[in-house]
Amino acid sequence: MESLSNKKKVLEQKPLNLAERMYLPAILKGLGTTMGHFFKKSSTIKYPEVEREFSINWRGMHSLKRDEEGRERCTACGLCALSCPAEAITMIAAERKPEEKDLYREEKYAATYEINMLRCIFCGLCEEACPKEAIYLDGPIVPSDYLRKDFIYGKDKLVEAPLEVK
C-alpha cells in the first residue's frame, strides 16, 4: 500500500564489504564517538548538595499557610481530604478558644493534620479544593527515610514557619 506519511524507507540488506568485515574501521569510529563523550560535561546533578531548578508549576512537599498576621489559615473543613484521590490526608478538627485568636484565623481549626507522603501522588487536587488557600504544594522534594511511620507528616513538618516578629 502507498505510504501516506511519506516516511517509509525501503532498506535492502547488502552483503558486508571488506572494510565492514574487518570490523576495525567501525571499531575505530566507535572509539572516537565514545572518546568524544569522555570530554563532554557530565549531565549528572549531585542531588543532595545541588538541586536542579524546578519549573514554576512544580508540585513538591505540602505546606500549610499562615495569613498576614501569622495565623493558620486552615479551618479543618476536610475538603482536601475528600478531594484526595489517594486518601493521603486526615485531620481532627477542634474549636478555637478565645485566647487562641491570634493563632488560628477561623473559629474551627485542625488540631492534627497528617499527610501520608507514601500515599500522596502530588496531583495538587488538595490545593485546588481548599477554600481558604491554606495548603500549597510549593515545597522541596520529599526526603527519603527508612521507616514507613516517618513518612506520615504532621503539622510540625507541614505548617509554615511563623512570621518573624520585627
Partner: protein
C-alpha cells in the same frame, strides 16, 4: 645462595603482589569511572573524595556477604576454583622485567623475580592455566548455565591461544630470544617491536582481549544468556576473587603487551635523560619503571575504553573471527616476517 638474595627476592615478590592487588582494586574503580565518563555521568563519588574509597567499600561488602555453597555442588572444587583463578592471575608477574637493574649498596638488584630463558613460554603456560579456574568453578557449581559458560570460556581460550601463539612466533623470529629481559633490552629507546610487528601486535591484542574474557569477547559472562556466567552460583569473597582475577589478568596482559611490543621500561630519549648530571643510574632505572607503568595504565584504559564502546560478539562470530581470520592472518604474518628476515640477512 646467600641471605641477601632471599631477602631481595622476597621483598620483590611481596611488592609485586601488593602492586598487582592494588592496581586490580583500583581498576574496578577506574572501570566504573571510565564507564561513567564515556556515558556523560560522574561515576562513584560518595565514598571519600571523588569516590576514592569505593574499592574498599566494595571489598568490605564482599567479605560481609553470606557465603553460599549450593547443596549439589562439588564442595572441594567449588572452593578451589576461585583460588586457582586468583593464583594463575598473580603468578604471571614473576617473569616480567619491571625495570633496569638497581644498584643498592654495591649489590645489583634486578627488578625481575626470575629471568628464565623461556619467559614467553612461561607466560603462555600461566595464561592457559587461567582457564582452569573458570572451568572448575563452572563445573563444580552443578548449574547448567555455569557449565555452559565454562565450556564457552574453555573453547574461546583454546581458540584464541593458537592465534596468540602464532603471532608471538613472528615476534620471536625478530627477537631471536624467549627471555623477556632480553626482548626488552633489544627495544632500547624508541625501537619498539610494534614498529616491526604491527599486524602481530594487533592479533596479539585481540587475542588477549579474548584470553582475559573482556568485552567484546566476554561471552562467558553473558548476563542475558547465562545469568551471570561461570560465577552464577558464587557469592561473597569467592565471587570477589573471580572478579578480581579478571582485573589482575588485565593488568598482567597489559604488562605483557607493553613488554613484548611497546618496549617495556624503554622510553624515547632515555639515553638523554640518563646522561643528565643529576640523574643517577638508579634514578634512571626508576624513570624506566614509571614509563613502563604508564604504558600499562594506558593499556588498561584501552581495555576499558573498548569495553564501553563495542557490543559483545555473537558466539559464532567469535569462533569465525578466531579460526577463520586471526589464525590465517597470524600464519601469513609468520611467512612474511620470515621472508623479510631472510632477504635482509641475504
Amino acid at each position: 645462595m646467600d641471605i641477601n638474595f632471599v631477602i631481595e627476592k622476597f621483598a620483590l615478590v611481596t611488592a609485586l603482589f601488593a602492586i598487582s592487588l592494588v592496581i586490580a582494586m583500583y581498576s574496578t574503580y577506574a572501570e566504573r569511572k571510565v564507564a561513567a565518563f564515556l556515558q556523560d555521568r560522574l561515576g562513584p563519588d560518595r565514598a571519600g573524595p571523588f569516590g576514592i574509597l569505593q574499592p574498599l567499600a566494595d571489598g568490605v561488602k564482599m567479605f560481609m556477604k553470606e557465603e553460599i555453597i549450593p547443596g549439589n555442588a562439588s564442595k572441594w572444587l567449588f572452593m578451589v576454583g576461585p583460588g586457582l583463578a586468583m593464583l594463575c592471575a598473580c603468578i604471571g608477574t614473576a617473569v616480567i622485567p619491571w625495570g633496569q637493574d638497581l644498584n643498592i649498596g654495591g649489590r645489583v638488584v634486578p627488578l625481575q623475580v626470575t629471568d628464565i630463558n623461556v619467559g614467553v613460554l612461561y607466560i603462555f603456560g600461566v595464561v592457559s592455566l587461567g582457564v582452569y579456574g573458570v572451568m572448575i568453578g563452572g563445573w563444580a557449581s552443578n548449574n547448567k548455565y555455569s557449565l555452559l559458560s565454562a565450556i564457552r570460556a574453555a573453547s574461546q581460550n583454546i581458540s584464541y591461544e593458537i592465534a596468540m601463539g602464532l603471532s608471538i612466533i613472528a615476534l620471536l623470529l625478530v627477537t631471536n630470544s624467549l627471555s623477556l629481559k632480553e626482548i626488552v633490552e633489544q627495544q632500547h629507546g624508541f625501537g619498539w617491536n610494534v614498529w616491526v610487528q604491527p599486524l602481530g601486535f594487533l592479533i596479539f591484542m585481540v587475542c588477549s582481549f579474548a584470553e582475559t574474557n573482556r568485552a567484546p569477547f566476554d561471552l562467558p559472562e553473558c548476563e542475558t544468556e547465562l545469568i551471570g556466567g561461570y560465577h552464577t552460583e558464587y557469592s561473597s569473597m569467592k565471587l570477589g576473587f573471580y572478579l578480581f582475577a579478571e582485573y589482575i589478568n588485565m593488568f598482567v596482559s597489559s604488562a605483557v603487551m607493553a613488554t613484548l611490543y611497546f618496549g617495556g621500561y624503554n622510553y624515547p630519549f632515555m639515553d638523554t635523560v640518563a646522561g643528565l648530571s643529576w640523574v643517577t643510574p638508579n634514578l634512571a632505572a626508576i624513570f624506566g619503571t614509571l614509563a613502563f607503568f604508564l604504558k600499562i595504565f594506558a593499556f588498561i584504559f584501552f581495555f576499558m575504553w573498548v569495553r564501553w564502546t563495542i557490543p559483545r560478539f555473537r558466539y559464532d562470530q567469535l569462533m569465525n573471527l578466531g579460526w577463520k581470520v586471526l589464525i590465517p592472518l597470524a600464519i601469513a604474518n609468520i611467512v612474511i616476517t620470515g621472508i623479510v628476515i631472510a632477504v635482509i640477512k641475504f
